[in-house]
Symmetry: C2
Subunit: 448 residues, 2 copies
């Protein structure tokens, strides 16, 4: 029987590689929500096969009628499997399974932003050649349909900018630090105990995960090819409770943002992409995004400001996005189609390399926290060094009791200044004998 005719009777067959947290969520959604999925689609999605190395753990999922073994290659080759879900994570094995599925002419749904950030070009090109779909809504913002919004909902717009809270772990840590006044070490430990943070949290805490996601978002927003390792990324390890207190006093919250902007210029467009903790106005919607939630603010030239909010991770929210992708691809399969919308919103051949704006060209108000010996004249030294470079000061607050005894924290909110001037000043200041620790620099994002 041909696939199309079988499909019309029995639905579209799904194979799942990777039966961890998200894979379990996908199996649950396909099972528990099969009524609504079938009603909306007009035919069912059938999970026919699962492959994972761990055949023992109890996942709380009814596996009746599903072949479950460790044979991913067999799953990919199985004629019953019409769409492959790749949820193994990581780079190499995930890449191999994805390319094998594509080579077998099968569309792939993945939640793996790391894979796409590193091997995206190879995978998208292979898929285009084979005429199969690749979908990855779950890879950014968990269950939030943000990629669909960029690809279709806002497709008539030139996107000007996007500001995203893209990592739930760090947003949980920052929210807790702001609420409790506790140190990052204490909060991070609690996040690990609660399962919000990995045993080695570097990937999240240092901004790598957010940079992976931002690379995908920027590609879709601006039609550019961006390698995630070109994205300037700073994590949240340098933040102390005082920073939240001072930020609040100035009218701001501290959030780890992924920021991408199109900068039009006479010599052509350039792209500004960066990940770092930033001060954003407390009245902004992004400042109200608490805990492990994610949100992306997108500004288009026609639509103006928009925002998309939801759970950025977790078993069921991520599964919600995976199954939405399955439904979209299954529809196309049943009509004998693929490639309805380019996976990165622009057809792959249209993706351009555009120059990135060097960090030094940023121009923003800055929050600076200096740690200096508590000695007369220190404040004059610091503020003098800023003034010498033409950096105007809006507020200065000096507090005793910094990390080391006898040291003070001096917090400065500058007027808008160029990043190169600010960095020049802080480098000079960090070399002063009275300065005890590297200066913390946070940029103010008024538009966020």
């Amino acid at each position: 029987m041909s696939r199309a005719s079988r499909g019309s009777e029995a639905g579209v067959g799904i194979g799942l590689i990777g039966f961890g947290t998200i894979g379990t969520g996908v199996a649950k959604v396909l099972h528990n929500n099969r009524d609504v999925i079938c009603k909306r689609l007009g035919f069912p999605l059938r999970l026919v096969r699962i492959a994972d190395l761990d055949l023992e753990s109890e996942r709380g999922v009814d596996l009746g009628g599903i072949q479950f073994d460790a044979d991913a290659a067999g799953l990919i080759a199985d004629p019953e499997v019409e769409i492959v879900i790749e949820l193994v994570g990581g780079y190499d094995v995930a890449r191999r399974f994805t390319l094998d599925a594509v080579a077998a002419g099968k569309p792939v749904v993945t939640a793996n932003k790391a894979l796409l950030a590193v091997h995206g070009r190879e995978i998208f090109e292979a898929a285009q050649q084979q005429g199969v779909d690749i979908a990855f809504e779950a890879s950014v913002g968990g269950g939030i349909p943000i990629l669909r919004a960029l690809r279709e909902g806002l497709a008539a717009n030139h996107i000007d900018s996007l500001h995203g809270i893209l990592n739930g772990t760090t947003n949980y840590v920052l929210t807790e630090m702001e609420a409790t006044g506790e140190s990052i070490e204490v909060v991070l430990k609690r996040a690990q105990d609660l399962g919000y943070a990995e045993a080695d949290p570097s990937f999240d805490v240092d901004g790598v995960d957010a940079a992976h996601k931002l690379a995908l978002l920027a590609a879709m927003a601006f039609g550019v090819e961006i390698h995630f390792d070109e994205i300037h990324s700073e994590g949240i390890r340098g933040l102390v409770p005082l920073d939240f207190e001072m930020a609040r006093e100035f009218g701001y919250s501290v959030k780890l943002l992924g920021i991408a902007k199109l900068r039009a210029g006479e010599a052509g467009d350039r792209i500004e992409v960066r990940v770092h903790p930033a001060l954003i106005p407390r009245a902004s919607l992004l400042a109200s995004v608490d805990g492990a939630m994610n949100a992306v603010a997108v500004h288009g030239d026609a639509v103006g400001p928009t925002l998309y909010y939801g759970a950025g991770a977790g078993e069921l929210p991520t599964a919600s996005a995976v199954v939405a992708d399955l439904m979209e691809i299954a529809r196309e399969l049943r009509r004998g189609n693929s490639g309805r919308v380019a996976p990165l919103s622009y057809p792959h051949a249209c993706l351009e390399r555009k120059p990135l704006v060097p960090l030094d060209e940023l121009y923003a108000r800055c929050y600076l926290r200096f740690t200096a010996v508590d000695r007369p004249g220190v404040l004059a030294h610091i503020t003098g060094a800023l003034g010498d470079r033409g950096i105007g000061i809006e507020s200065v607050i000096q507090r005793g009791m910094a990390a080391s005894a006898g040291a003070v924290s001096v917090v400065v909110l500058t007027h808008a200044a160029s990043e190169s001037d600010v960095r020049g000043a802080t480098q000079y200041i960090d070399g002063l004998p009275d300065v005890e620790a590297p200066t913390l620099l946070l940029r103010v994002e008024e538009e966020a």
Copy 2:
């Protein structure tokens, strides 16, 4: 030359009926953003013809190469026009143009929620019979891609509830009343001067527009057929500055919400739909939605809470949604397809009638403002009437200087109580000789 082959050279031809504010925006977006539209689609959208009765007004749009006259029937019949945009507004004429276009085998894009709320069934059935697409993203939430989110992004979910700020005019009025302490008359006058409100603002202020939109959202969320006139709607005319002050004191903001919930029960599912001003927690995202902006919070069983925010009206934001629909339909036309996704998310034949939950069954904390003669014992009378019906009181605040001299305002925040008990009590209280004006009842929506 066949349409398909012509399309592949010259793009898809668009005809626009109704060249008012939004129509002008659509012409601008199609012109100014043709580069990005063509890149994303792979072919251009060509605005070939516009019909409007007003041929004189200067719209600031380059009409080169576009046939512009008053002949809507000619536009619909024109073989160059492959997709018809209906932006005339209202009911009868819009219905006729839409059905004529469908009968001519042409897909229709509209922003007309009133049309769909009243004639939706007829239009969707005609479109299905003819095998042409109807798209209406612009009809709810302006430029926010909320209908796409419900139809596709969240399609794997049972939707539990949605709470929307669906009308920009009333949200502007409420935001201003809260910020300035001015009366609704003063603020509404200003809104009219600024063009945010119509000369006759009843449609917005009395909740009719929000009910139209809620009927569409609820149909898509729950797969039900709801007539907008079955939706209990209350407007904002009864609100006075004191209400905002008291709400703030209790920790709430006042917003006009469209609310739809699925209420599962042993005897089957029922639907709760209502439009009214409500008290929502000040810390909620919806409470931060200010001015003429819109937002819809959607809760799905897998994805959990999500929210979509953006401009709910205006020339370019609405045009952003219209052109997104054009792009989606043009893609399908070029592939010789239609009907990819059911316009109301569920295939039309699946839309069910489900019983609505009677208002009396609501169970919520309530804000009550009584207007009574300032005489000893009045407070006891009022609170006694509440107590007699088992309605617990959380806070009471009595203020002098109500609208009429010698009267006081008594504001009560109740514990959760049944609507029927609360209405029974207020009816009794409104009949007391010391009570001078009908009691204002606002429900508290903690989940919003």
